[in-house]
Symmetry: C2
Subunit: 755 residues, 2 copies
C-alpha cells in the first residue's frame, strides 16, 4: 500500500516502535483542550468588547454602514471562493482516483482540504466579525480614555488571533485523530497535507480579493476626494469613504487572519510530517510537539494581551510592546518545558527554538528600521521628496531593494544555526541521519517563530480597528481632543501592521525550507512505492534530495517560478488600478447626478460604491489566483509527459521500472519552481512591503512639519510615493506571502500527479 512514508529519505536504521501510545496521547488531549480554551478566551474577549458603549447614533450610523458593506463583501467573496474550492476539490479527487496508488487517499485528502478551507474561511470571517464591531466601541471609548480604547482595540484583535490559532490547532488535532493518528501515528500526518492546501487556497483569494478591494477603494476615494474635489480624507461627502473604511477590514483583518492561519497550518503539517520521520526517536510525542507549541502560543498570548494597559499620555506602542515581550518570554518558558517533557530535555533544541524567536524579534526590528520615521531610510525618502516626486520614487525603490539584505542574512544565520543545534541536540540518536536531525532543528526554529503568532495577529488586527475608529470619529465630527487620541492609536496601528508584515514574511521564509524538505520527502516516497509496486529496481543509495539545477527542466522550472512572482505581482497591481477606476467613475457619476452631495444637503449612496468595488475586486482576484494554482500544475504535468528526454543520463543510481528510468523531470521542475519562486517571492514581498511602508511614513514625517510640512511641494511629492506604495504594501506584497505558502502546499498535494 501507498504510505507517503519516506523511510530511506530520513532514516539510517530500522524504525523502532517502543513508545507508549496510551501515555503520549495525553499531549494531544492537552493541546486540544487548550485549543478550546483559546476559543473560549476569544469568546470572553469578544463579549467584553461587545458589552462596551457604542457611542452616539451618528457614530452607529457610520459603523453600521461599514459593517453592512464588509458583510456584503465577505458573503459574496466567500461564495466565490467556495465555488473555486469545490471545483478544485473535484479536480483533486479525480486526480487522486486516476492512479491505483493514490486512489485510497482521495477521500482523506479531499476531506482535509475542505476542512482546511472551511477553517481558514471561518478564521478570516470571525476576525472581521469582531473587528467591525470593535471599531465603533473603540471610537466611543476614545471619547473618554485612550487607555480604555487601546485595550478594546487590542481585545478585538485578540479574538482574531485566538480564533486563528485555536481553529488551526483543533482542526489539525481532530483530523489527526480521525485519520487514526493514535493507531498509526506515522501515517496520519501525510494525509493532512490537504488541510494546509485548503487553508492556503482560501487565504490566497481572501488576501487577493481583500487587498484589491481595500486599495481600489482607498486609491479611488483619494483620487476623487483629496485630489480632485479637495475634500479631506474620511469626509462624509465622499461616496467612496465607506468603501474605504470597509476595505481596511476586509483587506487587513480577513486577509491577514487567513494568511497567519495558513502559516500555522502549513508549518504544523510540515513539522508533524517531520515528527513522523523522527518517530523512532520521540514516538508520538515528536509528532504532537508542534501542536503543544501552538497551545503554548495560545496561553502566552492570552496572558500577553491581558497585561496590556496604557496610561493616557503613554505612546500606545510602548504598551503593545510590553505585551509582546511578556508573550515572548512566556512562550520561551513554555518551549523549554515542552522540550523537557516531550523531547527528552535536549537543550540544544531549545537553541533552535531561540533561533526562531530571535528571528521573529529581529525581523520586527529591521522592519521598524526601514519603515519608521525615526530612522535614516524614511528620512532619506522625505529628503528626496524636496526635489520632486521622481526622486521620491527613486529613493523609495532604492530603499525597497535594499531591505532584503539584512533579513536574508538573518534567515541564513537562523537556518544554519538551528540546523547545527538540531544535529547537536540529537547527536546520540543513531536511527536517523544527520540531515533529518538538522532539518528538525530548522523546524523547531519555525515553531519558535510562530510561538507568538496569536499575539502578533492581535497587534495586527489592532491596526484596522483603530483605523476605522479614527474614521468614525472623523466622520461623526467629534472634538479635536478625541481625534488626537484616535490619531495616536491609528499611528500605532500603522506601525503594528507594518511589523506584522515583516513577521509574516519571516515565518514564510523559515517555513519554506521545511516545506520544501517535506515536498522532496514526499516525492521520494511516492517513487519508492511506485517502483516497488511495479517490481522495478530501487537503488538503496538513491535519494530524491538532489534537484539538479544543471538540468534543463529544472532551470526552466526555476525561471518560471521566479517569473510567476513577477507576473502575479503585476496582475495584482493592475487589478487595483482597474478596480479603482470603477470607483472613480461611480463617484464622478454620483457627484454629477446629485449636486447636493458636495453642498452637504444630500447623502451620497455609499452602498452603491461598496457594491461596485465588491464586484470589481472579486472579478479581479480570479486571474492571479488561478495563475498561482495553475502554473505549478501545468509545469509538473508538461514535464511529466514531455520531460523524459531531459532526464539525467547517469542511470547507475536511478530508480528503474522495466529497464526504463523513472521520469523525474516533472517533480524536479516543480521543485525548482517552488524553491526559486519562494526565494523570488520573499525578496519581492520585502521590497514591496517595506518600500510601501517607508513611502507611507515619509509622507507622515513631512506632515509633522519637516521639509515644509503639509501643502508643501515636498508633501505633494511624498503623496505620490505613498499612493504608489499602497498597492505594493497592501495588495501585492501580502498576497505574495500567501502565494509562497500556497506554492508549498499545492505542490505537496499535487506531488503524486507529477510522476
Amino acid at each position: 500500500m501507498f504510505s507517503f512514508f519516506p523511510v530511506a529519505f530520513w532514516q539510517t536504521g530500522v524504525p523502532s516502535s517502543g513508545t507508549d501510545l496510551a501515555h503520549d496521547q495525553l499531549f494531544l488531549w492537552i493541546a486540544l483542550s487548550i485549543g478550546v480554551v483559546g476559543l473560549l478566551a476569544a469568546f470572553f474577549f469578544a463579549r467584553s468588547v461587545l458589552g462596551s458603549d457604542t457611542g452616539s447614533p451618528e457614530m452607529r450610523r457610520i459603523s453600521d454602514a461599514i459593517r453592512q458593506g464588509a458583510e456584503a463583501f465577505m458573503k459574496r467573496q466567500y461564495s466565490t471562493i467556495a465555488l473555486i474550492a469545490l471545483g478544485l476539490a473535484v479536480v483533486l479527487y479525480i486526480g487522486y482516483r486516476l492512479s491505483p496508488l493514490t486512489a485510497p487517499f482521495a477521500n482523506k485528502v479531499v476531506i482535509s482540504f475542505l476542512i482546511g478551507a472551511t477553517c481558514s474561511a471561518l478564521s478570516g470571517q470571525t476576525g472581521m466579525w469582531v473587528s467591525i464591531r470593535a471599531n465603533i466601541r473603540t471610537a466611543a471609548a476614545a471619547r473618554t480614555s485612550l487607555g480604555k480604547a487601546l485595550q478594546l482595540a487590542l481585545h478585538g484583535g485578540a479574538v482574531t488571533g485566538l480564533v486563528v490559532v485555536g481553529l488551526s490547532l483543533i482542526g489539525i488535532g481532530l483530523l489527526f485523530l480521525a485519520f487514526g493518528g493514535l493507531h498509526d501515528p506515522r501515517q496520519a500526518p501525510y494525509q493532512l497535507v490537504g488541510f494546509g492546501f485548503g487553508a492556503s487556497l482560501v487565504a490566497l483569494f481572501a488576501q487577493l480579493g481583500g487587498g484589491i478591494y481595500t486599495k481600489a477603494a482607498d486609491v479611488g476615494a483619494d483620487l476623487v476626494g483629496k485630489v480632485e474635489a479637495g475634500i479631506p480624507e474620511d469626509d462624509p461627502r465622499n461616496p467612496a469613504v465607506i468603501a474605504d473604511l470597509v476595505g481596511d477590514n476586509v483587506g487587513d483583518c480577513a486577509g491577514r487572519g487567513a494568511d497567519i492561519f495558513e502559516s500555522t497550518a502549513a508549518e504544523n503539517v510540515g513539522a508533524m510530517i517531520l515528527g513522523a520521520a523522527l518517530y523512532p526517536v520521540f514516538g508520538l510525542k515528536g509528532i504532537l510537539f508542534p501542536l503543544i507549541v501552538q497551545a503554548i502560543n495560545i496561553v502566552a498570548s492570552i496572558l500577553g494581551v491581558s497585561v496590556v494597559r496604557s496610561g493616557e499620555d503613554e505612546d500606545p506602542m510602548h504598551a503593545l510592546n510590553r505585551g509582546y515581550y511578556v508573550t515572548t518570554l512566556l512562550a520561551l518558558a513554555g518551549f523549554a518545558a515542552a522540550i523537557y517533557f516531550m523531547l527528552g530535555a535536549r537543550w540544544w533544541l531549545l537553541g533552535s527554538g531561540i533561533c526562531g524567536i530571535a528571528t521573529s524579534f529581529l525581523f520586527v526590528r529591521i522592519t521598524e528600521y526601514y519603515t519608521e520615521t525615526r530612522f535614516r531610510p524614511v528620512r532619506n525618502i522625505a529628503l528626496a521628496s524636496t526635489t520632486g516626486p521622481a526622486t521620491n520614487i527613486i529613493q523609495g525603490l532604492a530603499v525597497g531593494m535594499e531591505t532584503p539584505a539584512i533579513p536574508v542574512i538573518v534567515i541564513c544565520a537562523a537556518l544554519l544555526l538551528s540546523y547545527y543545534f538540531g544535529v547537536r541536540g540529537l547527536a546520540d540518536v543513531t536511527t536517523i541521519n544527520a540531515y533529518a536531525k538538522g532539518i528538525y532543528g530548522t523546524a523547531i526554529a519555525t515553531m519558535g517563530m510562530l510561538s507568538s503568532a496569536a499575539y502578533i495577529l492581535a497587534m495586527d488586527t489592532f491596526g484596522p480597528i483603530t483605523d476605522n475608529a479614527g474614521g468614525i470619529i472623523e466622520m461623526s465630527e467629534q472634538p479635536e481632543s478625541v481625534r488626537e487620541k484616535t490619531d495616536k492609536l491609528d499611528a500605532a496601528g500603522n506601525t503594528t501592521k507594518a511589523l506584522t508584515k515583516g513577521y509574516a514574511i519571516g515565518s514564510a521564509s523559515l517555513a519554506a525550507f521545511l516545506l520544501f524538505s517535506a515536498y522532496l520527502a514526499t516525492i521520494h516516497d511516492i517513487v519508492a512505492q511506485r517502483v516497488t509496486a511495479s517490481g522495478g529496481v530501487m537503488p538503496p543509495t538513491w535519494t530524491f534530495s538532489n534537484v539538479n539545477l544543471a538540468s534543463v527542466p529544472v532551470f526552466a522550472g526555476a525561471l518560471l517560478g521566479a517569473m510567476l512572482t513577477y507576473l502575479f505581482s503585476s496582475l495584482a497591481i493592475k487589478a487595483v488600478g482597474r478596480a479603482a477606476q470603477t470607483v472613480i467613475e461611480d463617484v464622478h457619476a454620483q457627484f454629477r447626478d446629485n449636486p447636493g452631495i458636495m453642498q452637504g444637503t444630500a447623502h451620497p449612496d455609499y452602498g452603491r460604491c461598496v457594491r461596485i468595488v465588491t464586484t470589481a475586486a472579486l472579478k479581479e482576484m480570479v486571474l492571479p489566483g488561478i495563475l498561482a494554482v495553475g502554473m505549478p500544475l501545468a509545469v509538473g504535468l508538461i514535464f511529466r509527459y514531455f520531460g523524459a528526454e531531459y532526464n539525467p543520463t547517469n542511470f547507475t543510481n536511478h530508480p528503474m521500472i522495466d529497464g526504463h528510468p523513472v521520469n523525474l523531470s516533472g517533480a524536479e521542475a516543480v521543485a525548482a519552481l517552488l524553491m526559486v519562486g519562494t526565494i523570488s517571492g520573499i525578496l519581492l514581498a520585502m521590497l514591496m512591503n517595506n518600500g510601501g511602508g517607508a513611502w507611507d511614513n515619509a509622507k507622515k514625517y513631512i506632515e509633522t512639519g519637516a521639509h515644509g510640512g503639509k501643502r508643501s511641494e515636498a508633501h505633494k511629492a511624498a503623496v505620490v510615493g505613498d499612493t504608489v506604495g499602497d498597492p505594493f504594501k497592501d495588495t501585492a506584497g501580502p498576497s505574495l506571502h500567501v502565494l509562497i505558502k500556497l506554492l508549498a502546499t499545492v505542490t505537496l498535494v499535487l506531488a503524486p500527479l507529477f510522476l
Copy 2:
C-alpha cells in the same frame, strides 16, 4: 597533474584522438584571419567617418568639449579599473599558488585574466573614440541629408561592433595558440577562463561607472535646467549640458561595448570548454567551432552594415532593420556552412542554431512590444499619466513586472528545443552521454544568438552617436528642418538602444545555462583530481551535477544570490542619486557666482561640471563592483571552512579522502548563488530595462500630442516616470547584465578556492 578536465562528467566512453590536428588547425587560421579582416574593416569604416565634414566652428567647439570630457573620464575611469584589476590579479595569483594542484596554472590564469581585461578595455575605448568623433560628422551631414547622416552614424557604430567581436576572436584565438591548443587542444580552453573573468570585471566597472555618470549628469542637468530654471534640454546656458552629452558616450558606447565583448568572450570560452569535452566526436573542429561562428558574425555584419541606405523620407528604423535581416540571413547561411564543414553536416544542430537566432529575433520583437508607442503597454502608461504621477508610476511598474513573462517562456522553449536538437543531432555518437549532447545543443543556440552581435552592437552605438548629433545641432542653434532630421535619427537611436538591451539580456540568459554547466564540470574535475591526488575514493557514479536545493548552505547561497541582485541594484540607483546631487550643487553654484550665464552673456564652466561628475561616478562605482566580486568569494570561503557540518549525509556515493567525505558545501553554495542570482538578475534587469523604456516612450508619446501633449498635466506626470526610469534602464538594468556574466566567470575562476 591538475587538468581541469572532467572526463567522468561528460563522457560515457574512452576518448578517442583520431583527428587530424594538422588539417583542422586551418579553421583557427581562418578565424584569426577573419578577425583581422574585422579590425581592418573597422579601420576603413572609421577612416570614412573621420574623412567626413565636421560642420561649423560652433559645432566643433561643442563636439570638442564633449570629446575632452569623455576622454578625461575614460582616462580616470580606466586608471581606477586598472588598479582594481591588478589588485585582483595579485589575489588570484596568490589564491592559485596556495594549493599545489592549482599552482601550475597560476601564471596562465593570471595572464589570460590580464589580457581579457585589456581587450575589454580596448573594446570600450575604441568604440568611444570613434563615437565621439562620429557625432559631429553625423550632425554636419544631417544639415544636408538624412540618409548620409544615418549611414555615418551606423558606420561609426560598426567600428565598435567589429572591434569588439574582432578583439574577442583574436584574443581568444591567440591565447588558445599560446596555451598549446594545437598540441593539447582539450586542455587549453580551461585555461582561458581567466580571459572571460578579466573581460567581465572590466565590463562591470565600465558599465557601472559609465551608467552612473550618464544618469547622474542627465538627472542633474534636467532637474536644475528643465525643472528649476525652465530652460530647454541641451540649452547651452546649462553648465551640466556637456556632462550630459559626455554621459551618452561613456554610458552607452563604452558600457555596452564592454558588455557585449564580455558576452562573446564568456560564451566562446564556455563553448570551447564544451567542445573540449566533445573532443572524441569532433576533434579540434568542435573546439574551434565557436570561433568560426564569430568569424561568420564579422563577415555577415560587415555586409549587413554596408547595405543600409535610407531615403530622405523613410523611417530610419526600416533601413536599420533591413540591415539586421540581411545580417541574420547571412549568419544563418554561414552557420549552415560551418555545420557542414565542421560538425559533419549534422543538420539537427542547425536547428539548435536557429533556436538561438529565433530567440534573438523574438527578444527584439518583445522588447519592441513593451517599449514602443504603437503598442498597448506604453499607451496604458500614457493613459495612466492623465490621473497623475502616482498612477503613471504604478502602471509603469506593473508593465515592468509583466515584461519577463513571455521572454522567460521563450528562453525555456529555446533551451528545451535546442537541447532536444542537440541530442538528436548527436544520436549516433556513443562516446559522450545524452546530457553532454543536449548541453552542446544549447551552446549552439547561444552561438546562434550571438552570431549577429557585431551588427546589433553597431545599431546600439548608433544610439549615442545620433543622440549627441541631436545635442550638437540643438546647442549650435541650427534651423528647424535640420533638427527634424536629427530628431528622427534620435528616435531610431532610442529604439535601437532599447532593443539591444533586450538582446543583451537574452544572450545572457542563454549563456547562463552553458556557463553554469561549465562551472559544475570544473568543480567535478577539481574534486576528482584532488581525491585521486590524495589517494582517496572517487565513486565512479558520482557526479557534481546535482546541487541539492534542500541542503541549508545551498538554500542560503540561493537566497544570498537573489539578494545580491537587489542590493546591487539598490546601490547602483542610490549612486546615481548621490552623484546627481553633486551636479545640482555645482550648477547652483555656477548660476549663483556668475549671473551672466543665465542672461547668455557668459559661458558656463562645462569642464568643472564634467570633472565633478567624473569624480562622483568613479567613487560610486566601487562599492557595487566590490560587492559583485566579493560576495561569491565570501560565500564560497565561508562554507568551505564552516560548511562541513552541512554536508549531505548519504556517503555511499560520495568522494572520500582518508575516510572523510569531501566538503562540497562551498562549491554547492556558490553554484546556487550563481544560478539563483542569475535568474533573479535576469528578471530584475528585464523589469528595469523595459519599465524604463516604456516610461521614456510614454512621455514621448504624450509629446506627440496625445492626452494634451507637452505642458499638459499628463506630460508632467509622464516626465516623473521617465526620470524614475532613467537609472533603471541606463544604470541598474545594464549593470545587472554584466553582473550576471561576471558571476559566471568569477565563480569559474575562483572554483578551485572553494574546495
